[in-house]
């Protein structure tokens, strides 16, 4: 079953605009991560935010986490054509064996038009 679900499923914007993607999850987490995947390539880690953090920045990326709503958002400012990719959130909820399992959402497909 999906733990993280991204919204929207697809997003098309003009270069220079901001892009916002959202992720909702179901169970308590210790951290949440965002990854990017270019077509036909492996995933690249973008940013990790821990459950006791509310906001984190990395270059043109801004991630927020609201544990009360079980949601996170990824904002890409001043988008570029090279930002065209799929973006996934990943969580590590506790599982019943006491360990952790990384669960990815289905992703948001971002297309930035030059």
């Amino acid at each position: 079953s999906q733990q993280g679900e991204e919204d929207p499923q697809a997003l098309s914007i003009q270069e220079g605009e901001n892009a916002t993607m959202n992720c909702s999850y179901k169970t308590s987490i210790n951290n949440l991560q965002w990854y990017r995947q270019n077509s036909g390539r492996g995933l690249v880690h973008l940013i990790l935010i821990r459950s006791n953090e509310r906001e984190k920045h990395s270059g043109r990326l801004r991630v927020t986490l609201d544990t009360s709503k079980k949601s996170s958002s990824l904002l890409i400012t001043a988008s570029r054509a090279a930002d065209t990719a799929s973006y996934f959130c990943a969580t590590d909820p506790l599982i019943n064996t006491g360990g952790f399992k990384t669960i990815f959402g289905a992703g948001t497909r971002l297309f930035v038009k030059a």
Binding site: A90, D92, T97, F100, I103
Partner: protein
């Protein structure tokens, strides 16, 4: 520093044939993951290793899938016999220690079962 290496990059086989994928993680990374990614979906965890021990293989279809990580370094994922529904991209990732750490992904092996 070399990233996660996977081979082959592409594989086309007929159903009922066996297939194997190989992964070399980043040097010093103790945790290794195998994921399966279907078209338009996020990666789904198949198995996670801590050194040479499989600590989470709950999503691995054990009737036809097997994996090993000898000496806690390289890993092999095998499917025997392959079915049409196994067509997907198989991703390997590694992280420094345990789950909840940043994962570094290889480029994946794209499998097509005819």
């Amino acid at each position: 520093e070399a990233g996660v290496v996977q081979s082959p990059r592409y594989k086309i086989i007929e159903k009922k044939q066996p297939v194997a994928f190989w992964c070399n993680p980043i040097s010093g990374h103790n945790t290794l993951y195998w994921y399966r990614q279907n078209l338009g979906q996020g990666p789904e965890l198949l198995i996670r290793y801590e050194n040479e021990e499989a600590v989470d293989d709950s999503q691995l279809p054990k009737d036809r899938f097997s994996a090993e990580r000898l000496k806690g370094v390289d890993s092999t994922l095998k499917i025997q016999p392959a079915e049409l529904g196994d067509s997907a991209v198989y991703l390997c990732a590694s992280s420094l220690r345990q789950a909840q750490e940043t994962q570094y992904f290889g480029p994946g092996t794209r499998l097509l079962v005819l």
